[in-house]
Symmetry: C2
Subunit: 344 residues, 2 copies
């Protein structure tokens, strides 16, 4: 009997559930409201019921390997406990994993959501042919994940890969973490909107000011759309984003010397607006990248290497955009049971 697993992505808005077979083929996907505000017990009950309804449809033909759940928080790998999560305060000091295992009678693995996304891109996405990878996730904040030796590498207390807080400008914009000028303050969707508002306040960005007035929700996407239309003020913001990401990636390439670095999250959709500035910085600031850069076409395309290409590109450093979009975390979570069930 072939096997399948369930991947769960618990976001701030939606709870998404996927049934995925052992080769990574999607069997079914379900999205329901997350309703995190109704508290832990409600979310766990809803999640278990949704998982059972999805899994139930396949258990006559497939055996269930287990359930992987990506959550927005820091998970301690050894115990599976949530040890930090601003969005899920009542999940701390509670045996979430054991409770869900008890209800589902199945192996359950919890993992940080950014790490799940990393694992998804590693298993089936942009880094599927690499033996080690780093992902930088550009969303409301900037997150990160490290995969090496076939699994997430998350450090002593599950906190490795906090690339959003790598320093870019020592005296830059204050960050929630207590520092200033973190990557997150220059390359997140939040930072893009903030920088746009700063420029608008300076009175030198007519089109941005108009858009900010017109759009009910003035977002990073509004700024990107203007940049696409050739607006220089909007493009200058993405030049700054690319500059910051270029410095961040130079730091990472110089530290890790990995074969591939993947840029994901919603802001990665603006790849064409920020990638030129990014690669300009990486070429001058990382001697390791300079020594291992792939042909220029790979940079401008921002496309992941195909299996064939990656063989001819052995020992090159690839920086590219993610391929799976918002499904990365879902697929990565589905990969967790097969990866860890026998190790834990």
């Amino acid at each position: 009997m072939p096997s399948f697993s369930i991947g769960v992505d618990l976001g701030g808005t939606n709870l998404r559930i996927a049934a995925v077979d052992a080769e990574g083929n999607l069997l079914q996907k379900l999205t329901v409201g997350a309703q995190i505000s109704r508290g832990r017990d409600h979310v766990i009950a809803e999640m278990c019921s949704a998982i059972q309804s999805v899994a139930g449809g396949f258990q006559s033909k497939y055996s269930l390997t287990g359930v992987g759940i990506g959550v927005p928080g820091i998970i301690e790998k050894k115990t599976g406990r949530v040890i930090k999560s601003p969005n899920l305060p009542d999940w701390l000091n509670y045996p979430v994993k054991e409770e869900i295992e008890r209800r589902l009678k199945s192996v359950v693995i919890l993992e940080n959501d950014a790490n799940s996304a990393a694992l998804g891109e590693y298993w089936l996405g942009a880094a599927r042919d690499a033996d080690a990878m780093i992902i930088i996730t550009l969303g409301t904040g900037v997150g990160g994940g490290i995969v090496m030796n076939g699994d997430i590498w998350d450090g002593m207390t599950g906190m490795a890969g906090e690339f959003g807080h790598i320093n870019i400008e020592p005296e830059g914009h204050p960050c929630n973490c207590g520092s200033r000028g973190c990557a997150e303050q220059l390359a997140s969707a939040t930072a893009i909107v903030r920088m746009a508002k700063e420029i608008i306040a300076g009175g030198k960005a007519e089109a941005l000011a108009k858009a900010a007035k017109r759009d009910l929700e003035f977002t990073a996407k509004s700024v990107f759309n203007l940049a696409l239309q050739g607006d220089q003020a909007a493009q200058a913001i993405f030049d700054k984003v690319g500059w910051a990401l270029g410095i961040l990636l130079s730091d990472l390439v110089n530290s890790f010397n990995f074969p591939i670095y993947v840029v994901g999250g919603g802001v990665a959709s603006a790849w064409q607006a920020f990638a030129p500035a990014l690669f300009k910085e990486v070429h001058t600031r990382s001697m390791v990248y300079a020594a291992t850069a792939p042909p220029i076409a790979h940079e401008t395309e921002g496309a992941a290497t195909t299996p064939k290409q990656s063989q001819s590109l052995a020992r090159t450093t690839t920086i590219t955009r993610a391929l799976l979009g918002s499904d990365a975390g879902l697929f990565g979570a589905a990969r967790l049971p097969a990866l860890r069930a026998n190790r834990v």
Copy 2:
């Protein structure tokens, strides 16, 4: 019969050779001139003859596990080849390892010198009780090394751990690597002398100016001595060094989440002058450090944890100075044969 190994540290000035037993006890140490300028064949001949003379004294009572050699260059782990070395240009594209093995009839392992030092501190020094560690070496330049899973982790092409080129000030002093404001431009012995000369040129540092005139060799140590005597201009330079190292370490702690980070190299002797500024930055700039900082006493002492302490400090992040001084590379090199002989 107990076993021993030979560690070799090939420096710019000296070639140092040690016989070390399997527990890390020093049996004998020999220092001879390196004479790198006389070329590869001369150095290899001298090295082999010195190794044979040291090893010969112990081979009646001990069995030789092999020879580890730390060299100033990038080594490809798989092949043992020197793939980059400004100081040893004629060692590239030459089977150094095979040639030395042929002469000595023993296993020979080559490794980068900073990585050998990391391994020494991991085996017998400041990180001897840790399961993963990072070393930052502050010398003429700033180097680094990563140890995890019991061995050096040096990336895809042996270039991981180039922490001297982590960016601190994006528009800072130009670096030889092509970037600006690298850690090496703010925390190396070279940078300390440069910053002192800049301050002297500004005309506001009387004691520094006097020392620069008086000392035939005006070095980072001269600046440190003045800082020790309470000279404010000299202390301000070490405050800047500590600030830069604090940002560098925050980046590393946020990225790696390792239990211990060791600061070594000649400039580490000035620990008391730069450590306060370093810890001030790390506390505010690294949320991962803030969440895992050890008791304050550990910071001010800069002393490595003892085995007993380290157990009570499980899950804390220790930043401390190296313990083995210039012998770290020698001991680390001696550790290589036992670590890798059976893996390669």
